[in-house]
């Protein structure tokens, strides 16, 4: 009975995924006439649409293994009538709220590790402030073009990167050793304790400069970049890389979110439904994850990202 319920739910999620894929077309039609029509719509119209849109986005983000921000910013900036400044502000809050909600569980299970996260977070959060100022100082079309190119790059990265469950780290480097970047966690599926340590720490830390700038500049959570650097480059096990990355967003996005907040880039009428919708969607997504077949949804998300990236690129070039 329960299985049947989840099977039905899975069908629903498939349908929801199709809705999001289809919704750009729908939203595009809306936005085509938005300049003149939008003013006639009641104030509650777009927040309501945004809430349901973010709810579906939250489900799909969990199933596809990406953060909400990476889908939120390109899709909402491309297909809703909000200026990119407010979308980035809300995008950071969405990523921040998701990271804060997931962080406690990950920290308690040692899947997010403070010794790995703190040095990296200091670099990323400092650079996120610089990125936020850069993003707010550059002309909107330039940011939109860069955002489009980044989103297309992320889609390619998601399609091609092959994370390693437990990378082999023979010798820990001096920096990793000095910072005590090592730990262990209990792997419930096999009943064993997995011990880990990092290597190539310096190049990893340098890459977090770029990740921080991009997170602040585009208002994206940067999980898509954190995980490959922590896992493939620095050698953290995949579960620790994913857990630490999610927790890391709560620090990186906090610094950038404060910049956007202080600059006045937060409109509660659109930010709150985004945050609440995405969080509710994430809870449903986590429950469905156990029975869903996320691979197909992952491909759909890659397709949506490519589409959204192209749309942002064309919008920045004044074509879209």
């Amino acid at each position: 009975m329960i299985q049947r319920f989840f099977q039905r739910m899975q069908m629903g999620i498939g349908l929801a995924a199709a809705c999001v894929v289809a919704s750009p077309a729908w939203a595009l039609a809306e936005v085509t006439g938005a300049a003149t029509v939008d003013a006639t719509k009641p104030w509650w119209f777009w927040p309501l649409i945004l809430f349901f849109f973010c709810f579906i986005l939250g489900i799909i983000a969990v199933l596809a293994g990406v953060g909400g921000g990476v889908l939120y910013v390109p899709l909402v900036s491309g297909f809703f009538p909000f200026h990119l400044d407010f979308v980035r502000g809300a995008g950071l809050l969405v990523a921040l709220a998701g990271a804060l909600a997931a962080g406690p569980g990950l920290l308690r299970r040692n899947l997010a590790n403070l010794r790995l996260a703190l040095p990296v977070a200091l670099i990323a959060s400092t650079c996120a402030i610089a990125g936020a100022f850069l993003g707010l100082a550059l002309p909107t079309n330039v940011v939109q073009i860069c955002l489009g190119a980044t989103i297309i790059f992320i889609a390619v990265l998601l399609a091609t990167s092959k994370n390693v469950e437990r990378p082999e780290v023979k010798v820990q480097d001096a920096i990793g050793q000095a910072l005590g970047m090592s730990g262990s966690y209990f792997e419930e599926s096999t009943g064993e304790v997995v011990e880990w340590k990092t290597h190539r720490t310096l190049p990893g830390l340098i890459l977090f400069i770029v990740i921080g700038v991009m997170a602040g500049m585009f208002g994206l959570g940067a999980g898509w970049a954190n995980v490959p650097v922590l896992n493939l480059l620095m050698g953290a096990p995949l579960k620790v890389a994913v857990g630490t990355s999610k927790f890391l967003l709560s620090i990186t996005d906090t610094s950038a979110a404060w910049v956007y907040l202080n600059k006045g880039c937060v409109i509660p009428l659109m930010a709150i439904p985004s945050i609440v919708g995405l969080m509710l969607g994430s809870f449903v997504g986590v429950r469905v994850l156990a029975v869903a077949k996320p691979k197909a949804i992952r491909y759909i998300v890659i397709g949506v990202l490519l589409f959204a990236g192209l749309k942002a690129l064309l919008k920045g070039l004044g074509i879209g």
Binding site: P42, H83, L96, A97, L118, I251, A257, V266, V276
Partner: protein, 144 residues
């Protein structure tokens, strides 16, 4: 069985990490609850908003600089003076979320000092300073 329990215990998170997790848990949920409550107050009109609801759809397509000018909206910590208004009341929950990491890091300092883990004391203090600087609005406060 005993062995599995022992190994599981050995892989447990450090006490300061668990404390940080508890703090985030209560803080994040309080923030989200606060956001929902203040949003309901805002939408039901229990408190008058600073920017009338029906004007916002005309404003949210503007850049932030134009928005601030057109809506006579505050920047920096100016929102704190408008907490009696329905729209800016929503900032309470948002700001609570944005403060959680700073508060969490402050709790880590004594733990690392007790352990004499000086590199991490420095990292955590620097992180608090970075986040406090971002929160203060000192950096580039002003319009777009």
């Amino acid at each position: 069985m005993v062995k599995a329990k022992a190994t599981r215990e050995s892989a447990q998170a450090s006490p300061e990490q668990k404390r940080y997790a508890d703090l985030l848990f209560y803080g994040a949920w309080a923030g989200i609850f606060l956001m929902i409550v203040t949003y309901v107050i805002y939408l039901t009109g229990l408190l008058d908003p600073h920017i009338p609801l029906n004007e916002i759809p005309h404003l949210w397509r503007l850049s932030v600089g134009e928005f601030l000018h057109e809506a006579n909206a505050p920047h920096g910590w100016g929102w704190a003076l408008l907490l009696g208004k329905g729209d800016y009341l929503n900032f309470l929950g948002i700001v609570l979320l944005a403060f959680m990491t700073i508060v969490g890091f402050l709790t880590l300092i004594p733990a690392y000092v007790r352990k004499k883990d000086w590199p991490f004391v420095v990292i955590v203090v620097l992180e608090v300073l970075v986040l406090a600087l971002a929160a203060s609005g000192i950096l580039g406060a002003g319009g777009h």
